[in-house]
């Protein structure tokens, strides 16, 4: 059941409850989410909760409306995106994903510390090669030179990486299916194993996504 956002008697906005995003929308903790239905629900809740429609209420109800709507927006933003949704579920299950964000990289660079990095071994060679290419490209660009062959090579590899990202998403969706089934039936052990698999895909995906971003930046510079 959806969390109680409105008073059942007078229909006014209620204070937000400390619930997770799935419960906020009245969804089970499953990874397959019908985003069309989710959007409809989002619009419907917005029509009741939004501060624009509660401006003339007293201060307390305005505050509730603000808090409820920010939670609604945060929940919708998280659940409508397949990757964010999976990451969120993992966090709910007590798993902190490895911080591989660009800011962590920058931080490591700035402080001179070595970033904790566990690159999946099978990606290592690919990453190394691409970083060499990118370094070369940056150097050339700095000198105002061009190397069509290099650009073509990078472009080709980028396409391959994009395909990998798509494949990983499909793989992840396969695990969703298993997870959703496991929620209803399987034991603790089976679910833990599934969570581990999803963490692994997301981590690998992170490397590739960061690499694609680096490529885009290097090309645009």
């Amino acid at each position: 059941m959806r969390a109680a956002h409105f008073c059942s008697a007078c229909g006014k906005v209620q204070p937000p409850l400390p619930v997770d995003y799935f419960t906020f929308f009245g969804l089970p903790r499953k990874l397959h989410v019908n985003v069309v239905v989710l959007e409809k629900e989002f619009y419907e809740l917005s029509r009741g909760l939004h501060p624009d429609l509660n401006v003339l209420q007293d201060k307390r109800e305005q505050d509730w409306s603000l808090e409820q709507t920010s939670m609604l927006n945060d929940a919708y933003r998280t659940l409508k995106d397949p990757i964010k949704r999976t990451q969120y579920l993992l966090r709910l299950e007590g798993i902190e994903l490895e911080e591989q964000s660009k800011s962590a990289t920058e931080k490591a660079r700035a402080t001179g510390e070595v970033k904790k990095q566990v690159v999946p071994p099978d990606l290592l060679e690919e990453l190394f090669e691409m970083n060499m290419h990118l370094e070369e490209l940056r150097t050339l660009k700095k000198q105002g030179e061009d190397d069509p062959a290099l650009l073509e090579e990078i472009g080709k590899q980028k396409l391959e990486l994009d395909e990998k990202l798509d494949a990983q998403l499909e793989q992840l969706k396969g695990y969703w299916h298993e997870w959703d089934k496991a929620v209803d039936s399987s034991g603790e052990e089976a679910r833990k194993k599934l969570l581990g698999k999803m963490v692994d895909v997301l981590n690998r995906r992170n490397y590739i996504r960061n690499l694609v971003r680096d490529i885009n930046e290097a090309m645009e510079q």
Binding site: V55, S70, E106
Partner: protein, 633 residues
């Protein structure tokens, strides 16, 4: 209720407008001169009275040192932000601005902050609306460029307060325009709003779905607009005058103002003619004349209008849309009248833009629609709801001067993020937090919103405290921060003061000061206040009549009071505050004995064991006296 009418205001760089919803349609309220547009020009005349709008324009040429335009460019900005502006605009900054202080602009020998100057414009619009409705107006929706940051939004809100307006909502200009458009069209689909105004550029992409206006992505440049085109033309004219005529008039503010007026007229003419003539009379009968063709003009402005391409591409990328997926492109802002701008839009979005709306008025009309929605809606707006986004990512500075983004741009607002902090040394009582706005990776490249300390952390070993800090961007796009130490459960609300913001006390002071610069306002304030006092004393008298003390008066005294009461009610309906004050004083003196009797009975009731509250002394006429006697100088 008529008195609760909420107005919609477009506070523009070049022109400002006020609109409201008349039954099912938004309409612009004209000024006393019958014109819809109020130029955003403010001047201080020789009598130290503030002049706003069309009437102020002549001061730009006659006494440029007493006038200011395009003040919106300075809202929410610090001295170091506006060095480029200072080269191009005749802003006269006060000489004694300290680093980190809010800017002040000289008008004559007085100085005003940008929010105060904007407030003069808002006050004029408020007055126009009040004259139109015949009742006071106190609530408004004000539009801001979608790409305005937190400080610029806060400054706009402050301007509203200084003008005596409760700002119920800040609405993004392109979004407001989409409301006016959607009200008209009632169609579902993806709409892009391209808004190139006098000083700002915004692009917003929205999904319209059964009355929901959901912004998917927005981008822009808060320092790009018609002003920039004017400045290019002015530079050419100044160079010509120096080259051909051997005169350097750059420091002659009167000449520059005349040139500016002429190039604006030329720019407008070139939207409908293939060529036009610049003709400016300089000092001692010398004239500057020059022919400009549209071709030359278009070549000249290309670099300026090309600057809108990047934001449009980024917005489409953020929205995950290709030009073909956009159903309509709506043009907003006076600068979109330029044919070259229209051609550029057509080229970018692969379709002819929608030009059915008056680009000068549509934002104000949309603000009126939003005002109507806030006030409970009408038949026309019943199902309408706006879901807007934050234009810039919100971040905090982490080790190494890096920005850690916690709310990404284009997140639907209200939006929030929670961060946890701890201490680095034993017994540490404060933790410093630096809040940033912007997309860059390094903190120094982002806009600093605020630096604040989390104070009063209970003494614990390093790493033990767990401080939860909640960042919340409200529906106006303004940030609120609250913090709580979780191990002790101690909650402390932290006010985020924008780096160039005014404090609450400063705003309060400005509200009062602003009355001094307009006789009309001063008079109106006196009328409103004296009416309020009259109501207070009349209500108190009504109460007095119900009290036992009333029976102790002689019939003569009662008759006398009734006469004075009638007199007060009669003058209250008039606009003469002095007459109202006089009648109040008379009634005050006339009810003196009644007040004393009530006082006595209240005291004796109290002695019988009743509380003061029950004796209801607070509202007896006796309490009305000090109010009426207050000094209103």
């Amino acid at each position: 209720m008529a008195t609760d009418r909420i107005i919609g205001i477009d506070l523009g760089t070049t022109n400002s407008l006020v609109a409201f919803m008349e039954s099912e349609n938004p309409v612009v309220i004209p000024g006393e001169d019958g014109l819809n547009l109020v130029p955003s020009v403010v001047a201080l005349d020789e009598r130290e009275q503030i002049i706003v709008g069309n009437a102020a324009r002549k001061y730009l040429i006659e006494t440029p040192e007493r006038a200011v335009y395009s003040i919106k460019r300075l809202m929410g900005r610090g001295v170091e932000d506006i060095q480029e502006e200072l080269k191009l605009f005749p802003f006269r900054l006060a000489d004694d601005i300290l680093p980190g202080e809010v800017l002040r602009i000289k008008l004559g020998d007085k100085t005003f902050t940008p929010p105060e100057i904007s407030a003069f414009i808002l006050r004029q619009l408020k007055r126009n609306a009040e004259r139109f409705f015949g009742v006071p107006v106190t609530k408004a929706v004000i539009t801001v460029p979608a790409y305005f940051n937190d400080a610029q939004r806060q400054a706009t809100k402050d301007a509203g307060r200084i003008a005596g307006l409760e700002v119920l909502r800040l609405v993004n200009e392109p979004t407001a325009a989409s409301l006016a458009y959607g009200l008209d069209k009632k169609q579902n689909g993806i709409v892009a709003v391209y808004d190139l105004g006098g000083g700002t550029f915004d692009i917003s992409i929205l999904k319209l779905h059964d009355g929901i206006f959901e912004v998917i992505a927005t981008n822009g440049d808060t320092h790009l607009g018609g002003d920039d085109i004017d400045n290019l033309l002015i530079t050419i004219a100044l160079n010509d005058i120096q080259g051909d005529m051997g005169m350097d008039v750059r420091r002659n503010s009167e000449a520059v103002a005349k040139i500016r007026k002429a190039v604006i007229e030329a720019k407008i003419a070139l939207s409908s003619q293939p060529s036009t003539k610049l003709d400016v009379e300089l000092s001692d009968g010398k004239r500057y004349q020059r022919e400009i063709t549209r071709e030359q003009f278009e070549q000249l402005i290309q670099p300026v209008i090309d600057r809108t391409v990047g934001p449009c591409k980024q917005a489409m990328k953020d929205a995950g849309l290709k030009p073909e997926q956009i159903d309509e492109v709506v043009l907003v802002g006076g600068s979109t009248r330029i044919p070259k701008v229209r051609a550029l839009v057509e080229q970018m979005f692969h379709r002819q833009p929608h030009t059915g709306l008056n680009p000068d008025e549509v934002v104000a009309l949309g603000a009126a629609v939003q005002a109507n929605i806030l006030s409970g809606g009408s038949e026309a707006t019943e199902d309408m709801l706006l879901l807007d986004v934050t234009p810039l990512s919100l971040g905090i500075e982490v080790a190494g001067g890096v920005t850690d983004k916690i709310i990404l741009r284009n997140s639907t607002i209200p939006a929030s993020a929670t961060q946890y902090y701890t201490t680095q040394i034993d017994g540490q009582a404060n933790v410093a937090i630096h809040v940033l706005q912007g997309e860059r990776e390094l903190a120094k490249d982002c806009r600093s919103l605020a630096r604040f300390d989390l104070r009063g952390i209970p003494g614990m070993p390093a790493g033990m405290p767990r401080i939860e800090v909640k960042f919340l961007i409200d529906a106006n796009g303004i940030l609120h921060v609250s913090a709580r130490e979780q191990r002790s459960g101690k909650e402390s609300e932290i006010q985020v003061q924008p780096s160039y913001g005014l404090t609450d006390e400063q705003v309060e002071g400005m509200i009062l000061d602003s009355f001094d610069y307009a006789e009309e306002d001063f008079r109106q304030r006196q009328v409103i206040e004296s009416r309020n006092e009259a109501d207070t004393i009349l209500a108190a008298l009504e109460k007095g009549k119900q009290s036992p003390a009333w029976g102790q008066l002689t019939s003569d005294e009662k008759k006398q009071i009734a006469k004075m009461e009638k007199a007060l009610i009669a003058v209250k309906a008039e606009d003469d505050y002095q007459a109202i004050r006089k009648a109040i004083d008379a009634l005050n003196i006339g009810t003196m004995r009644l007040a004393e009797l009530m006082m006595d009975s209240a005291v004796s009731t109290a002695l019988k064991g009743k509380t003061m509250d029950q004796a209801d002394m607070g509202e007896a006429p006796a309490a009305g006296h000090p109010v009426a006697k207050a000094d209103f100088k």
